[in-house]
C-alpha cells in the first residue's frame, strides 16, 4: 500500500469530536434503505436456524422483516452518529459495528426465502475450512514481506503445490509424502523468487507475476502430458480428526473439533509464525531486515542471505496451502483450479497488517464470505444470480485493498532490493 502520509491524526487529541460526513451519510442511507426494504418486502418471511449435526431437531425461527429492520435501524444510527460528530477514538468502533450490522442484515435477507435454512454448524465449519488457503497463502506472504521481499506469486505457489501434491501422492501412494512434495514444489517457486530478489536484484513484482504465469503454464503443460498415461493424477485425501465428545458440543463442536487435518495445521501455523516472528531472535532479525536492512547489516545480519532463506522457506507454507486445493478437498488436479485465491490471500495479508493474528481474523472473514456465497448458490432460490454470489470474495478483496477499512502500512523496506555496496 502507498505509505500513508496522513498519519497526523494519531498525534491529535483522541477525545476531540470529529465528523465523518461521507461515511456517515452513506451508512445512514444504506441503513434506511434496508429498514424500508425489510418492512415492505419481507413481511411474513422467517429465517430458519438449524443445528443439524449435534442436536437434530433444534430449530429457531426469526421473523425476517423485524430482524432486518432492526439491523437497518442500527446501521442508520451508526451513520447518524458519525454525521453528528463523535469522539475520534470511537470512530473505528462505530464504523465496524455499523458495517457489521449492515452485512448481517444482508445475510439474513439472503437467508429469508422459502426453503433456505441457515445450517449454523455446517456454515461455520465450512467457513473455517475455506479460510485455510487464505491462511497458508497470507502467512507465506507475511514471512516474505516481513523480510522485505514482495511475494506476489502466491497464486503460482498454490498451483505448484496443488499439482505436485497429487502427483507425488499418486506416484508414492502415500498422501503425506504428497504433501511434502507440494511443500517442496512451492518452495522451488519461491526459491526462484528469492534468487531473483537477492542475488540478481530483479524487480520483485515483475518476477512474481511472471512466476505465476510460469506455474500456470508448467502445471497446465504437465497436466496435459501426464494425462496421456493414467495414474498420475489420482485424488487422495487426509483424514478428518474427530475429538469424540468434544465434537458433540453444539455449534463449536463440529467447527473446532471435527475438522480436516489441514485446519489444525493451519491454526497451529498461525501461532507458530506469530511466535517465531515476535518472540525469537530469528523474528527480530527478519523484521529488522524488512524495516531497515542497512541497520540490520550494521548489526552483523547478512541481509540477503536471511531474505533468501526466509523466502525459500515461505514457499513451504504456500506449497502446503496449494495441497489444500487438491488433497484437503479430495480432488484431482485441474488446470488453474486455484482461481485467483492466491491474490485474495495477498489481500488477507494486507487486511491482517502483516501480522499472523490479523491474518487469522481476515482469513476467517473471507472464508465466511466464500462459504455463504457457495451455500446460497447451491441452496438455490436466491434472488441474486449464482455468478454474482461467486464474485463476492473478489469484490470484498477490492473493497479491502482499497483501504476502506483503514490504510495499512507495509514493512518499510518491502520490495526494495538490498545491495550492501551502495550505502
Amino acid at each position: 500500500m502507498a505509505v500513508d502520509t496522513a498519519t497526523a491524526p494519531a498525534l491529535l487529541d483522541e477525545s476531540a469530536v470529529a465528523r465523518k460526513p461521507i461515511h456517515g451519510w452513506s451508512l445512514a442511507v444504506l441503513g434506511a434503505l434496508m429498514t424500508v426494504g425489510a418492512l415492505t418486502q419481507l413481511g411474513g418471511r422467517e429465517v430458519l436456524f438449524r443445528l443439524d449435526q449435534t442436536s437434530p431437531g433444534a430449530e429457531w425461527a426469526l421473523p425476517a422483516s423485524f430482524a432486518v429492520a432492526v439491523l437497518g435501524v442500527l446501521t442508520a444510527l451508526g451513520g447518524a452518529l458519525m454525521v453528528y460528530g463523535i469522539q475520534r477514538r470511537f470512530h473505528k468502533t462505530v464504523l465496524a459495528v455499523a458495517v457489521t450490522c449492515f452485512a448481517l442484515g444482508l445475510l439474513l435477507w439472503a437467508m429469508s426465502p422459502e426453503g433456505v435454512v441457515f445450517r449454523v454448524e455446517a456454515i461455520l465449519a465450512g467457513a473455517l475450512f475455506l479460510s485455510m488457503p487464505y491462511i497458508f497463502g497470507a502467512l507465506s506472504g507475511v514471512v516474505c514481506e516481513r523480510s522485505g521481499v514482495i511475494n506476489i506469486g502466491i497464486e503460482g505457489q498454490f498451483l505448484m503445490g496443488a499439482f505436485s501434491g497429487v502427483l507425488v501422492a499418486s506416484i508414492s501412494g502415500n498422501v503425506y509424502i504428497g504433501i511434502v512434495g507440494a511443500m517442496l514444489a512451492g518452495s522451488l517457486s519461491t526459491l526462484l523468487l528469492a534468487l531473483m530478489a537477492t542475488k540478481y536484484q530483479v524487480n520483485q513484482v515483475v518476477v512474481g507475476v511472471i512466476l505465476n504465469l510460469l506455474a500456470l503454464g508448467l502445471t497446465g503443460f504437465m497436466f496435459d502430458q501426464l494425462k496421456k498415461t493414467p495414474g498420475y493424477n489420482v485424488a487422495a485425501s487426509v483424514p478428518v480428526l474427530d475429538f469424540g465428545p468434544l465434537a458433540e458440543i453444539p455449534i463449536i463442536g463440529p467447527t473446532l473439533f471435527r475438522q480436516n487435518l489441514f485446519v489444525y495445521v493451519g491454526l497451529a501455523l498461525v501461532a507458530l509464525v506469530w511466535f517465531l516472528l515476535f518472540r525469537t531472535r530469528w523474528g527480530l532479525r527478519t523484521r529488522s531486515v524488512g524495516e531497515h536492512p542497512a541497520a540490520a547489516d550494521a548489526m552483523g545480519v547478512n541481509v540477503n542471505r536471511l531474505r533468501f532463506w526466509n523466502v525459500t522457506a515461505a514457499g513451504l507454507i504456500s506449497g502446503f496451502g496449494g495441497a489444500f486445493f487438491t488433497i484437503a478437498n479430495s480432488l484431482a488436479f485441474t488446470k488453474n483450479m486455484t482461481a485467483g485465491l492466491g491474490f485474495v490471500a495477498l489481500a488477507v495479508m494486507i487486511v491482517g497488517r502483516w501480522n499472523p493474528l490479523g491474518v487469522l481474523a481476515g482469513a476467517l472473514i473471507f472464508g465466511f464470505t466464500t462459504q455463504v456465497s457457495r451455500y446460497l448458490d447451491t441452496a438455490g432460490n436466491s434472488i441474486v444470480p449464482g455468478e454474482f454470489l461467486q464474485m463476492l470474495p473478489y469484490a470484498v478483496t477490492i473493497v479491502v485493498v482499497a483501504g476502506l477499512i483503514g490504510r495499512a502500512k507495509a514493512p518499510a523496506a518491502d520490495g526494495v532490493p538490498y545491495n550492501p555496496g551502495d550505502k
Binding site: M1, A2, D4, I150, I152, L192, L195, M196, K199, Y200, Q201, V202, N203, Q204, V205, V206, V207, V209, I210, L211, L213, L214, L216, G217, L218, G220, F221, M222, F223, D224, Q225, L226, K228, T229, K335, A339, G340, F343, V344, L346, A347, I350, P385, E387, F388, Q390, M391, Y394, A395, T397, I398, V401, A402, G403, L404, R407, A410, D414, G415, V416
Partner: protein, 427 residues
Amino acid sequence: MTTENTTATAEQPESPEPPESKPSFARLFGRYLIEANSVMVTVYSLLLAFAIGAVLLIVSDEQVRSSYGYFFARPSDALGGSWNLIYSSYMDLFQGAILNFNTLERFQAGNADFGDLLRPLSETLTNATPLIFTGLAVGLAFRAGLFNIGAQGQMIFGMLGALVIGFSLNVPAIVHIPLAILAGAVAGGLFGAVPGVLKATTGAHEVISSIMLNNIAALFLVWALSTKFIHSETRSELVSKPVRDSAELPALLGWLNPSLRVNLAIVVGVAVAVGVWWLLTKSTFGYRIRAVGFNGPASATAGMSVGRTYATTMGAAGALAGLAGAALALGTGSGGVNTATVLEYGFDGITVALLGRANPAGIVVSALLFGALKAGALSAQPDVPVDISTLLQATIVLFIAAPALVKAILRLRTPRGGLVTLEAKGW
C-alpha cells in the same frame, strides 16, 4: 517504471580508442555476441526457454523417460528418442505457425492452392491481433509505472460492448464497424479505469485490484451469456447471438481462400501501435505518462496530477485491451462468442509487453512471435500440450526480466552502460 534505464548512457560518445588497434568487423560482432546487451539477451532468452521446454518435453514423456532407465545399456534409444520427440514437437509448432511441409508438397503436386499454403501464417496473424492490443494495454500502463494485469477482464468487457452494438444496431457497415469497435474501446476503458481510480484515490495496488476484476469479469461473462438479451436464439449452449454481417470485420485474404481467418483487425492493430508510439513520444499526455512513471514525486512537484495520470492511463490501457475484445467479437468470434473465445490473450499481453520492453514497435514484434507460438500450439495439440505456449512465454520473459541471470548462466560480458531491466512499483 519501465524501462531502459540505461539507454541514455549507452548513447554516450564512444570513448576514444587508439586508431591502430581499431578492431575488425568480425571481432566487433563476436564481442557483441558475448555481451549481455538487450538484443543478445532477447536472443539468448529465447534459446534458453526453448532448451528448458525441450527438457520438460523429455521429462514428461512416458516412453522417452523410460528409455533413460537403461541409458548405459543402450544410449542410442534415449538420445535418439529425445531428439525425435523434441524435433517433432517443435516442428509441429513451426508447421502450425509458419509453413506446413505437407501442404507444400501437395501444393507442388498441384493438389493444394496458394491459400492453403498461407493458412499457418494467417493463423499466426489472427492470434497475434489480440496480443498486439493487450500487449499495448499492458505496455502503456507500464510506462506510467503501473502494472496492468487486468487486460483479460478489460478485453472481456470490450468484447461484450462490441458484441452488443454488433448485433443490436442495423446500420451500414461503414458506420457499424467503427461504432462497434468504439463501443469495445469504451467498455474496456471504463472497466480498466477502475483500478487506476482506486489507486489514485485510495492507494490500492493495481495488481491486486485488476486481477480481482479479471475474476469478476470472467464470472460476469458467464452470466451475461446466459441472459436473454445476449444468449443465442437458435443454440442452446452458452453462446451469444452472432453479430450482424454489417459489423463483421472483413477477412483480408478471403478472396484467396475462405478459410484464411486473418481480418482487418491486424491492420487496425498496427495502426493503433503507431498511434500509441505517437502518443508516448510526441504528445503531452504521453510525456506526462513517462514522467509519472519515471519519477512520481518529481512530476507531482512539477505540477502534474499523478492520481489523474494513473486514472487516465489505466483508462487508455483498458480501451486498448477493449479493442482486443472488439477484434474478437467482430472477427474470429463474429458467429457468436462463448467463454473460450477470449482464451488467455489478456494474460499473454503481459508477456508480450515484457518481451517488447513496453515499447510499441517491440510489442508488435513480440505479439507476432507469441501469436506464432499460440497458433503453433493450438494446431499441434493434443500431441503437444497447448500450454506449451504459456510455458515458453513465461520462461522467455523470466529471462528477459532477469538479464543478470542470463549473463550469469552464459557467462556474458556486461555491456557498456549496464544491464537493461524492467521495473514496477511495490506497495
